[in-house]
Symmetry: C2
Subunit: 378 residues, 2 copies
């Protein structure tokens, strides 16, 4: 967008490349008890359908470690096992065939065990994510866990913790590493990742906030932190963490990435915010068009405008759209009014056109043919 993308050495998480010139991937995490194989697989499948590239699964008990074996077999996506302090669980997860570990080696006190894990991960081609969270890093004893600490001090401690964990793996000649530096607020997260990116090493960055909160506010926080960093060229994979099911985390993550692409490269809906000039009932219309647009794959822009003041002006640079009026409205395509229609036919006409395009797109994808840009011949 503005910053050149930070140069990194890519790692491979079960076929999904992270870093280098690879597209930025979207991750989520299961919220089930990992021991419950069926429930966990259902969540992974739902996330995959929503477009997730990678899923993380906690591995916090032996039963979870055992369950992982079956989960890996059934999963449509590469899995990352989340390990906290327990070396045997890390080895179980590797044996289960996970594609990545999230593990802070400095948290495992027995150096020999870290050596075993690194050797086993290396043999299997499994990378490790070092995940530093602002709330759980060693702090100075005289400040009670971050209270009274400045953002700069927190950032310094986060970066130092990341480097400490990295060094342990580097000394074992393990370099298939990605790193995350997460805080629960935008400023600390942005500054910590900027500080890490400025160090000049080439480990890919996994971006996210910890405990971002409920969907409404958590989406805003995540969009800001990830938006600011990605716009600066920082970040190679993202996870939006919400108090919500994984598919919503994925949807928000994909929306963030889409907004950093030119609107011309993807299906795009514009809708006026409704105002005093509003002459048709917009909200349900917009929702229906948004749903129909989900099935369209080619990059087109569709506009739904409540009135004719902004309508023809601001809506007509869309590929197609509708604008309301008193009792009747207009349907436009390629910047030209195609039809003036009674209000009750406006929406149906647009939805029908979108259906036709969605079917064409599905057929083209099925046939392995490229999608047209804009309406094509439609």
């Amino acid at each position: 967008m503005s910053g050149e993308r930070r140069a990194t050495v890519p790692i491979n998480v079960g076929g999904v490349v992270i870093g280098g010139a690879a597209p930025i991937s979207v991750q989520s995490m299961t919220k089930t008890q990992t021991e419950d194989v069926a429930a966990t697989l259902r969540e992974i499948e739902a996330a995959a359908e929503a477009g997730a590239d990678i899923m993380r699964v906690t591995c916090d008990t032996k039963e979870a470690g055992t369950a992982l074996k079956e989960i890996v077999k059934g999963s449509p996506l590469p899995l990352v096992a989340d390990i906290h302090y327990d070396a045997p669980l890390a080895l179980m997860a590797l044996e289960a065939g996970v594609a990545c570990l999230r593990l802070n080696p400095g948290n495992i006190t027995d150096a020999d065990k870290v050596k075993d894990i690194a050797a086993e991960a290396k043999a299997r081609g499994v990378p490790i994510r070092i995940g530093v969270n602002s709330g759980s890093i060693p702090g100075r004893k005289d400040i009670a866990r971050g209270r009274g600490e400045s953002i700069d001090e927190t950032v310094d401690r986060m970066v130092a913790a990341a480097l400490h964990h990295i060094r342990i793996l580097e000394e074992l000649d393990f370099r298939a590493i990605k790193v995350s530096l997460k805080a629960s607020d935008v400023l600390t997260t942005v500054r910590a990742n900027r500080a890490f990116a400025a160090l000049g090493n080439r480990y890919p960055l996994h971006l996210g906030l910890t405990e971002a909160g409920p969907p409404e506010t958590g989406s805003i926080k995540s969009a800001m932190a990830l938006g600011i960093l990605l716009a600066e060229g920082i970040g190679d994979t993202i996870r939006v963490s919400l108090v919500a099911p994984p598919p919503l985390e994925v949807k928000v993550g994909k929306e963030i990435l889409a907004n950093l692409q030119p609107a011309q490269s993807r299906p795009n809906l514009i809708a006026c915010p409704t105002c005093g000039r509003l002459e048709i009932n917009m909200v349900p219309m917009v929702q229906k068009v948004e749903a129909a647009l989900q099935r369209v794959k080619r990059p087109i822009t569709v506009s739904v405008m409540g009135c004719v003041v902004n309508g023809p002006g601001e809506g007509m640079h869309a590929d197609m759209g509708i604008a309301g009026g008193r009792q009747k409205g207009i349907f436009y395509k390629h910047g030209k009014v195609v039809a003036t229609l009674p209000e009750e036919e406006l929406l149906a006409t647009l939805l029908h056109e979108l259906d036709v395009i969605a079917e064409e797109d599905a057929a083209l994808i099925e046939a392995g043919k490229p999608l047209p840009v804009g309406l094509g011949d439609s």
Copy 2:
């Protein structure tokens, strides 16, 4: 955050200063028919309660112009009249006592009428917002309204349009100007505002997207565009435009601004995203705590953690909070466990503590006394 705030000459919109060192204000726009005075005032009041600083009202008919007089009288907030092409309506709005006009003088063909409006606005101390939207600016004839145009070309046309309107007012020696450059996508909006900010003039910027869409995706778009720009020091007042009632636009706007302040300066909720380790039913808990926190005014951080793995570690740097467990959980304050409680008492205990603080805050504000940072003596 990182960029120094762009230097601007402040303007005054009915007592709300925009630009200079003034805090960034939050605006919204009524979605009623302006002719309906009662409905419009209800919307303005709802927006004021949600924390709006300024409201915009469309003025698109003579009846709206007449209604504005009563709306201005009844409004708790300064009002901006949205004028499109109609000079007499601009004069009516000024006579009605609005605090600002949104008007692109180049859209009014009769130069004498622009002169009248500028003279009347100046006499009344009313500033003018020049509002350029990507969809409604003059374009090259050979490209159909932006189709096939690159972002750079759109940005150039937007900035040129803004400068054209500015020049008309400057020639009339009118300089109480703010400017907006809005597109319906993040990239164009960010680049247009960066390009304008780089010109070196000192007019404050009003940030927003046009037709950002439904709340879920519109919040994300707005958070990204405004977040990126504000983090660079660009922007003096914001409007989040959603297909939703004004209070939601205001809530999202205020949330965006809050996220650019250090978490230490405001009440802040952190909640873990729930995962396989989840042992208490988080979502309704988080919603209740969020609601209770609305009434707290002092800057405290409250955490609600689903389990004890992240709980004590990541939650305990909050001022207070709860972390779940099997059947029972902990309530902590100042980084120390205060009580181990049965699950059913956890939430009630935290809500009670927040109520006590909210009452203290209300009493302190009533008495004109400063609020403590963190828990204070509680």
